[in-house]
Symmetry: C2
Subunit: 243 residues, 2 copies
DNA sequence: TCTTCTTTTTTTGTATACAAAAAAAGGCCC
DNA sequence: GGGCCTTTTTTTGTATACAAAAAAAGAAGA
């Protein structure tokens, strides 16, 4: 294991107390989201267990969980690796999320309690603040929370669960394919516009706001010729961060 | 463990050779789908292991898998049980499936290869045959296969995966809430109509066919006052098939 | 007879040991 | 130097043992 990886994992491990499989999954997921564990990174059970101070049994459960969330790849008799979604899958993920989140926004329009709306607005404000302050990790967190709130408030819990999954998967591919020069994916006023339509109760306008928001986000990605590079990377087993 | 349950599981166990976690999950899922393991049924790890001839390690993995598919409920320190989706969740599942499968059908219209179309038609014919022959389990299998084929052929693999999940969940609630007098949920000519629109390339007609098909199916269910009964059952831990 | 508390049994959570498979390293020949 | 085979090491798959929690059974009292 390389030093960088090990140190990252040490930092990621819970300071004290017992850790559950959920804790480990949370930490690893977050590290992937924050691009501290790049695609292809190996996640051996023993190492993970040592870092978090638990045995393989617990680690195994968390890995299974992460695999079902499409965060890692888990093939029989092989070490789990951080997944590298292709550009094709990226487009498909956005497509699916437009459909699902658009529908949820439409269903939610005009049916949100004042408290829920206020909570959403608070998140939007926090995101803007973090952007103005140049704290991109915080901005991402706040943006994610906003969309997760949307999923939670969905009257249809099944659709809501699907959105939670899609928000995670989109975040991963955004982190992966963001144009290199780009400092932030913040889109001025977009969340505000969505919230206005949700409050006023215009379902189709809310759906449209979601579509525009996601189209804008997808447009900030570099989805051109990397395809081949990524595929070769995973096929040849070339891992960037460790031997 | 009651005799009925144990015998059912014996029957369900693979005849010979080693069994993987996937095998066990497949068998249990199928038994749930065929209503041979009613909601609330306990699935203790040791018993399952004994029946399939493997240790708890393997069983645990299969249970985790089934939980992520929403087939069973798995709470900390409690035995896994076959899930009993509420009527509310049933409606939400249908709603979600209408959205996703409708979109897939629309995207697929006019884009299916002749071979794919032929395979779909073969499944529809097999279903009709099984219905005419009065073999309901076989009819269900063929109907399921048809929708799974649709999911597989989806150009959007992410949406396809979501549909696979939703088809399973719908089947479970159909088995659970089917009106008691009803012999079959077969809907004359519906699959044929869908396939015609898929072949002719009329996207909105294909979407409409899916909507009608699912609405018709939902209408065959008894979604009235049981809500309370089911909830009490799971809350009070009253299990029908075993002590 | 019903309730409540205690004791026993069952069942899951976690760690660990050993076998099998895959990956890596080393040595060999060209 | 580069490719190929053998050996070693690493890593996962599975079974099992023991502790902790939950469920069930039993006993005592009203």
């Amino acid at each position: 294991m390389s030093n960088a990886w090990h140190e990252e994992m040490q930092a990621v491990a819970k300071s004290g107390g017992r850790v559950s499989d959920r804790d480990i999954a949370d930490k690893v997921r977050h590290a992937v989201l924050m691009q501290r564990l790049p695609p292809g990174t190996k996640l051996p059970e023993i190492t993970l267990g040592e870092v978090f101070g638990v045995s393989r049994s617990v680690v195994r459960k968390s890995l299974t969980r992460l695999a079902s969330e499409h965060v890692i790849d888990q093939r029989p008799n092989q070490v789990a690796r951080v997944r590298a979604p292709s550009v094709e899958e990226t487009r498909e993920t956005f497509d699916a999320r437009r459909l699902v989140e658009g529908e949820i926004a439409a269903q939610l329009a005009g049916r949100l309690s004042p408290e829920a709306l206020e909570a959403l607005e608070r998140q939007a404000d926090l995101e803007t603040e973090a952007f103005r302050g140049g704290d991109e990790p915080a901005r991402i967190e706040h943006s994610l929370t906003l969309h997760h709130l949307l999923a939670e408030h969905s009257p249809n819990r099944v659709l809501g669960g699907m959105l939670t999954d899609l928000v995670l998967r989109t975040s991963i591919v955004v982190a992966l394919y963001k144009r290199s020069g780009l400092a932030s994916c913040y889109q001025e006023g977009q969340h505000g516009r969505l919230l206005r339509h949700l409050a006023s109760g215009d379902a189709e306008a809310a759906r449209g706001a979601i579509h525009d928001h996601l189209n804008g986000l997808e447009a900030l990605l570099d989805l051109s010729p990397r395809e081949a590079r990524i595929d070769l990377m995973s096929i040849l087993g070339h891992t960037p961060e460790q031997a």
